[in-house]
């Protein structure tokens, strides 16, 4: 367990955030996802080809768990017969009514300006850095020769 002082800093919306170590990098493989709870909030962490992204696990429509949805690409076409799939695996479809969210930005496709999922910064950090702090690692054993994922929340 890392003994680190919980130094708070301000997040995107002006509230205090801290860095929470939630998993080892190898716990969430490419294309996989995992739900973690940080400061009482369910957050779903996605691994897109080694890059990590975190979204509040709650659909802005009617609060379904996005983690239960299908992760897919995005269909585009000009007219029938020209269908293509782009950005494979980078969208999550809500399991309830199928709204699509961009995992990288949290924006819904149908109404990106006003319908979006809250996003959390997720980064990788080597264990050797971790021990220096300021990180909160309540649930993860940390060793210096592994790589970890932390969420800012």
């Amino acid at each position: 367990m890392v003994q680190s002082e919980r130094r708070l800093k301000r997040g995107r919306q002006g509230e205090f955030v801290s860095k929470h170590v939630v998993a080892r990098v190898e716990d969430i493989g490419p294309g996989e996802r995992r739900v973690v709870t940080v400061r009482n909030r369910p957050i779903v962490i996605f691994n897109l080809d080694g890059e990590f992204f975190g979204l509040l696990n709650r659909c802005p429509h009617q609060a379904a768990s996005l983690s239960q949805g299908i992760q897919a690409g995005f269909a585009i076409a000009e007219v029938p017969g020209t269908e293509r799939c782009i950005r494979r695996g980078e969208f999550i479809r809500c399991p309830w009514h199928g709204w699509e969210y961009d995992i990288r930005t949290g924006q819904s496709w149908c109404d990106p300006e006003s319908i979006l999922v809250r996003r959390f910064k997720v980064e990788r950090v080597p264990g050797s850095e971790l021990v220096k702090g300021p990180f909160v690692a309540e649930t993860v054993e940390v060793s210096t020769d592994e790589e970890y994922i932390y969420v800012e929340a």
């Binding site: 269909a75 585009i76 076409a77 007219v79 009514h97 199928g98 149908c110 109404d111």
Partner: protein, 366 residues
Amino acid sequence: MPELSEARPDGGSNGTALKIDCDVHPGVPTVEALMPYMDDYWVDEFRNRQIDGLEIATYPPNAPLSCRPDWRRDGERPGADRDQLSDVVLDTFGSDIAICNPVYGGLVALSEQMAAVLCRATNCWIAEQWLDRDPRLRSSIVVPAQNPILAAEEIERCAADARFVQIMLLVANELLLGRQYYWPIYEAAQKHGLPICIHAGSMYRYPTTPSGWPSHYLQDYAATPQLFTAQMQNLMSEGALARFPGITFVLAESGISWLPPYMWRASRTWKGVRGEVPWIKRAPSAEVRDRFRVTLQPFDVTDDHDRIEKLVEQIGGEHMLLFSSDFPHWQFDGDDPVPSAMPEHLVRKMRTDNPLSIYTRLREDK
């Protein structure tokens, strides 16, 4: 090419804004009247087979709705008297221009060839017997949707005459109108900048409701919005709107009050199944606002000023309505097709600005 009316967008005949009636129905009196515009084979065929009475089943001549009682003439088909149409529609209703939608058997005939012959003859007849005689009249091109290739040929033939300002199809055909089968019609429409008018009326290839035949005329007519709903949705979903961005679709005699619930439901559903139809890139309600227009009569909304404002806002704004009297159909009594509670700003829009914005041929100087 015949001379266009003196009337101009910048000033109608009386110096005020040009007023346009977007849906009136001249009646074809008998098939005999169309014979001058057919070749001998077809003249003989119609005579030998004693075919007449080709009004479409949607508008039986004696049904109350097909002709307002004070406009009926003994022994005549509704709308067959040109002078009456001009008197009522232009002089009494105060329009400078009226767009004729001759709804007749060519639109529904089972034989593709007969359909094409009748449509062609109807267009020639309208041009010679109506447009030539009253320069304030314009017309839709009627086409045999039974054979879209022949329909496109008829569009090509008529488009040279600038008094034909749009193409008319019925709302119920052999297939849903978005299907690629119909795209030759849209190809020609887009090429000539002609809106497509989808008018109430059925080929009667299927029951008039999606779940079976009703028993009464009332049901046929009142259920018509279901057909319009299906066509709007299909034109979007099959990619016809995306493929032909230049075409505006006019819903004629569709009624209006059914639009908001449809737009709401279509947009809501689309959000979840967008991947099926990726060529629909914005909510269906936005497509409707941009690509469709509706004619005024039958105006199926309460006579309440605020509710009309609200409805127009819900269907996308004041650009959506096109003034129409629907003469000689019995949709209202009295001498004013505009409901008394209609806000003044909407009247000006629907009678002048909105039609001129989509009927580019009414703006052309000649």
